[in-house]
Amino acid sequence: MSVSVQNLSVAYRSRRGDVTAVDNVSFALADGEIMGLAGESGSGKSTLGNALVYLDQRMKATGGTVTVDGRELPIADTRAMRPLRMTEVSLVPQYAMSALPPTRKIGKLMTDLLKSHRVGDQRAVMTELKRRLELIGLREDVLDKYSFELSGGMRQRVTIIMSTLLNPSLLIADEVTSALDVSTQRAVGEMLLEFRDRGFVKSVITITHDLAILAQIADSIAIMYAGRLAERASTDAIVNSPLHPYTQALIASLPEVGVRHDQVTLTGIPGRPPSLVSPPAGCRFRERCPFAFDKCTQTPPFVEIEPGHTVACWKASDERGAAAGRAGQEQAV
């Protein structure tokens, strides 16, 4: 396994005490796997992604381990993480394309980056950089431009190139396709696939709220809700046979091209996610779940219901247990 996250918890310091934004999350990624980390605002997905690379002053890791390529990442120690950033793990932060310094040319930004990471053979890296620009259809003269001279899509692709220049094992892309036009969304999505296929990055975690994009580029999807993982499975399983009621409701609420309101009425999910400052006991989706029953006041464990398909839901695990029981009985008979 290329990436393994075990029981990771991350909290924010606030005036009212620690707020746990990521609660006991575990998952693993194989080499070359693109995993989509999906969830709504306040689910903790951004926190999880960012914690793997850079914990800012307000955050602290309160438990768990992260292993990449067999060695443990010292995520709690910002200093120790420095040499690993961009080389082992890399992050394209949300709003990165708006955060490019406007007073420096793109080429200069790149060389500065290489210098700060004490890259030995800068020339070789720059040649590789030009090759990659060409690969994704950007012309070399992009290096001679300022960030405001590029369109939104171009800037986003430039930031992804910058983050992957040193071939990290794990790339975390935080909402890289939001706020882009539909055509550039596709270009950026395909770029991630391209880079994975060519081995520029080993594994990718794409953080987004857009399940449709994940259906295009992700091999597997993890759904987060209120700081916990609700479901994790292959893209096909999530889209076609989701087991967690939240996932089911989410999929059912997505409009698709060709579907009109007079043909199908979609429904949303009533209510709001619980506050993470004082979360409810047991399953956090309980209050909005149409299938909630008394067992849901206990926290459901995140268990593998089917091969490669993990869910944290009493209904799903109980049903699976009942089905297995029936199958066993039939066999006996």
Binding site: Y12, S14, S41, G42, T47
Partner: protein
């Protein structure tokens, strides 16, 4: 990331504005600069109020004891005419505060009116007002003061205050105009327009309150600079002709070569007190800025 954080922590997304008063008080009390600056300033204001009442002599009463060292009956000594320096100091502080307030208020009124108008309307009106602003900035106010002063029989505190106000409003206007420009394209302003509100209502109710912290800081700075400017004018002998002020004291001291004669009690107190008055204000201002803008805080 920051929006994700604020969603998780249930905090408002905009700094300063929209937070509870208790937040301001909490952070305010913990900000050393604000506490120190404000504290010192309040002490000085207190002194300005009570000080003159404790003086045994009037500021320009001739006591007959010239150039006494501080001590005994004359707490800060006397000047070359025999006037009590302490009394002059106490009354001088009052005058300085008064002129400072007058100057700040008149600059604020003119500056804000023109700034809001230019910022809201834009277009030709804005260009004209900008021209006017630039002209005022370029005017040598000292020369102007001399020229105008020469036509007047006597100069009063009111005159000095208003004069300072009318020559320092430009940078208030510019700051207000810039903020108004950026706020007027905000969506809640468009919402107010879509609700049939008139421009004046929108400026007063929607735009100005969002600048409140900024305006507050600006006014404090104006206050400090007015006092300093007034002291400079007084020092040059261009101040009010009939009152005692800190600048006037320093002017008198210089004219009588107090420095040469080491009559420190004459020129050091006014200078020191003036410095304290302005510096405390500026330090408090920096602290207040930190309270309003969480990003400036080092937590």
């Amino acid at each position: 990331m920051s929006t994700a954080v604020s969603e998780i922590l249930d905090e408002p997304k905009t700094p300063a504005v929209g937070r509870k008063r208790s937040d301001f008080v909490y952070y305010g009390l913990r900000n050393k600069k604000l506490v120190f600056g404000l504290g010192l300033e309040l002490l000085l204001v207190l002194f300005a109020i009570i000080g003159p009442m404790l003086a045994k002599y009037g500021p320009q009463t001739l006591t007959g004891a010239q150039l006494h060292h501080p001590g005994g009956t004359y707490w800060l000594g006397t000047d070359s005419l025999g006037e009590d320096v302490y009394s002059q100091l106490a009354n001088g502080i009052r005058e300085s505060y008064l002129v400072g307030a007058l100057g700040a208020v008149s600059a604020a009124v003119v500056g804000m009116t023109l700034g809001f108008t230019a910022g809201w309307r834009g277009g030709i009106l804005d260009e004209v007002l900008q021209m006017v602003t630039n002209i005022i900035v370029m005017l040598p106010s000292l020369v102007l003061l001399v020229v105008i002063g020469s036509y007047l029989n006597s100069r009063s505190v009111l005159f000095e205050g208003v004069f300072i106000g009318l020559t320092t409003w430009p940078w208030v206007a510019r700051a207000v105009r810039a903020q108004t420009f950026s706020l007027r394209s905000r969506e809640f302003v468009e919402m107010a327009k879509l609700s049939g509100k008139r421009p004046l209502e929108i400026i007063v109710r929607d735009i100005a309150p969002n600048m409140a912290s900024y305006l507050f800081l600006v006014v404090i700075l104006l206050f400090g600079s007015s006092m300093l400017l007034a002291a400079s004018y007084d020092f040059l002998g261009l101040g009010p002709s009939n009152t005692v002020s800190l600048g006037w004291m320093m002017n008198q001291a210089t004219q009588n070569a107090a420095l040469l004669y080491r009559e420190w009690w004459w020129f050091v107190p006014p200078g020191a007190v003036l410095t304290a008055m302005v510096a405390a204000l500026l330090v408090a201002n920096v602290g207040l800025d930190e309270v309003f803008n969480p990003k400036l805080r080092q937590q």
